[in-house]
């Protein structure tokens, strides 16, 4: 494990949307540099958990700590997101009017980096995901896999210590999914960041250090090296 990854502590977190309990007393830890997969059926609370970890939403009860600090108590959660967290979504969410290069540059705006340096950084990130030659193209001129690779380049623009991916291959065919997962896990290996991936994709399992399974907002299974080797922490369903 690499020390440059962030540590994540989720302590007794509960989240409701109206009368629906999305998360019920969820507790888990993710070590620095660990790659964790979160699986579960639709509506099991996977994406809600990821949003709480990334500071996109607040828990009703319990705490989410990144490196021991609650993300919502920082100077501003947006700054914390810029400094610590990178997001990849199922929908690439690229800005349609901007080129691939500028899309990658967007998170760097306001970081204090000069224009020329931002451009160079964005171009090198596109190069890293194999799309330097497509830098001037608009998202509409890129394939689904290329768009997702641009989204990955954007997610790592600020050198995050925690990469959160919500169904990153959900909208891709199997061959393209493999390439995107290769890219994500290759980057994680090289950059040493902590990574949490929400996915239905069974192909994800062997790539992660641990897999957490959620059912109806509860952790029912947590396998991997954070627990006793060879054992599984299985809650009765």
């Amino acid at each position: 494990m690499n020390d440059s990854g962030a540590e994540v502590d989720v302590e007794h977190v509960q989240k409701r949307f109206g009368k629906v309990s999305a998360l019920r007393d969820v507790t888990l830890q993710v070590s620095s540099g660990e790659a964790v997969g979160i699986t579960g059926r639709s509506g099991s609370g996977k994406s809600t958990l990821l949003a709480l970890i990334g500071g996109l939403d607040r828990a009703d009860q319990g705490k989410v700590l990144i490196d021991g600090q609650p993300i919502w108590r920082r100077r501003h959660p947006a700054h914390a997101r810029r400094e610590i967290v990178g997001f990849v979504f199922q929908r690439h969410l690229l800005l349609e009017s901007l080129s691939a290069l500028v899309n990658v540059e967007v998170p760097l705006l306001g970081s204090g980096m000069r224009h020329g340096d931002r451009r160079r950084r964005a171009l090198s990130l596109l190069d890293e995901v194999g799309l330097a030659h497509r830098s001037a193209h608009l998202p509409s001129q890129l394939s689904g896999g290329e768009r997702q690779r641009v989204a990955v380049a954007r997610a790592i623009a600020n050198e995050p210590r925690l990469l959160l991916a919500d169904e990153p291959t959900g909208a891709l065919d199997s061959a393209t999914s493999e390439r995107v997962l290769d890219l994500l896990f290759g980057l994680r290996d090289r950059l040493g960041m902590t990574m949490i991936v929400v996915s239905y994709d069974a192909a994800l399992g062997p790539r992660t250090d641990r897999t957490i399974t959620l059912i109806d907002g509860e952790v029912v299974q947590d396998t991997g090296p954070a627990h006793t080797v060879g054992s599984e922490n299985v809650k009765p369903c």
Binding site: A51, G54, L56, D57, H76, A78, H79, R81, R82, E83, F87, F89, L93, L95, E96, S97, L98, V102, V106, P107, L109, G110, S111, R154, A157, N158
Partner: protein, 371 residues
């Protein structure tokens, strides 16, 4: 940030153009109205300096200087004052030319400085020679509008006069009007022994403000007009028009701001996911709000620039098309255009504030899901 603002405006060209066009119409209205106000001021200033005089004396407390009535005997009394170098009576005849009701016909002493200072462009000034009676001098603007030339005829108060000459004075009122001998004008209007005003040239050592106060003191019931502000104050109608224009400017500002607010608010609803994404990648609410505000200001600046052009060209064309150039001569000043631009930018700022504020309240997760 600027490149994003430009890209976002270009992404929806129809919306950008329509919003900018709405602002342009507002700014054009303001620029045109301000130019009319300035023209009104210039015109009003002209009444203070008829015949190139330093000040003009009118009856006090009249609704409009042209409604003033003074006894002709005042002229010689004023002439005797040490601070007066020369005084000449002027009888102003309003709506006396049917085809140009806005034109003023001046009844002037043929030997007074008012008549002597008219610069003839064509024809002769027979009034000065004392042979006037059937003849009239016509200002160049009026001559141009009515296609008059020496030898032609102009009907005043139902009586036809032969055009003796065409003159230029540089004063809007005079160049848009005509000049008859005072006695003829008095006979036409049935105002023998009366004049509307007395134009005064001061002695070389006299100051306009001091002399003005002295005249008002020495000749009770008179008011002296020597500045534009005094001329505007003296004319109740001019004041009324200025105030009305101010109200219209404020209304244009409010309507423009509501238009921009509406457009930007709709844009925010449409672009929730995009704005949520910016927040997700670490943009602070203030930065996202700045983007929205920046777009509002950019579209307003575009609209304001188009509005300035439209106001300048349109104002002039409108006056010509309506045939009211004898009443109003639009006058464009840098300050007037600057105010139009300022109003345009103010529309953008005011219209962008509420949508930008809404953006700061947006929850990134809800915005991302577009709910």
């Amino acid at each position: 940030m600027l490149s994003m603002i430009i890209a976002n405006l270009r992404r929806r060209p129809t919306r950008t153009v329509f919003t900018a066009a709405g602002i342009a119409v507002g700014v054009a209205t303001i620029v045109a109205l301000l130019s009319f106000t300035q023209g009104l001021r210039n015109t009003a200033a002209g009444i203070a300096h008829l015949g190139g005089s330093e000040l003009s004396v009118f009856q006090a407390n009249v609704s409009d200087p042209t409604a003033s009535v003074l006894p002709l005997s005042l002229v010689s009394q004023m002439q005797s004052k040490p601070y007066v170098a020369s005084a000449t009576p002027l009888l102003l005849m309003i709506e006396s030319i049917k085809s140009e009701p806005g034109a003023v016909v001046f009844g002037a002493d043929p030997r007074g400085f008012f008549t002597r200072r008219l610069v003839l462009i064509s024809g002769k000034n027979e009034q000065q020679a004392g042979s006037g009676g059937r003849g009239i001098l016509v200002g160049e603007r009026l001559a141009s509008h009515l296609h008059l030339a020496p030898g032609g005829a102009l009907v005043v108060h139902g009586r036809a006069f032969r055009v003796e000459g065409v003159y230029h004075s540089g004063i809007f009122y005079e160049d848009s009007g005509a000049v008859l001998p005072l006695a003829v004008a008095q006979a036409l209007t049935g105002r023998g022994g009366e004049t509307t005003s007395v134009a005064i040239d001061l002695a070389s050592n006299a100051r306009a403000s001091t002399a003005g106060k002295a005249i008002e003191r020495d000749f009770p019931g008179t008011q002296v007009i020597s500045t534009t502000e005094q001329a505007l104050r003296a004319g109740a109608n001019a004041t009324l028009i200025s105030k009305a224009i101010l109200v219209i400017v404020v209304i244009a500002l409010i309507i423009g701001a509501i238009g921009v607010t509406n457009t930007m608010a709709l844009a925010i609803i449409e672009r929730q996911s995009e704005l949520g994404l910016l927040s997700t990648v670490g943009w602070s609410p203030v930065r996202v709000a700045s983007l929205i505000l920046g777009e509002g200001i950019a579209v307003s600046v575009l609209g304001a620039a188009a509005g300035l052009l439209l106001g300048v060209v349109g104002g002039d064309l409108l006056v010509r098309a309506l045939g009211v150039s004898t009443y109003i001569s639009p006058s464009f000043t840098a300050w007037g255009l600057g105010r139009g631009l300022l109003v345009g930018v103010a529309i953008g700022v005011l219209g962008g504030i509420y949508p930008a504020w809404r953006v700061t309240r947006m929850q990134p997760l809800k915005a991302l899901s577009g709910t």
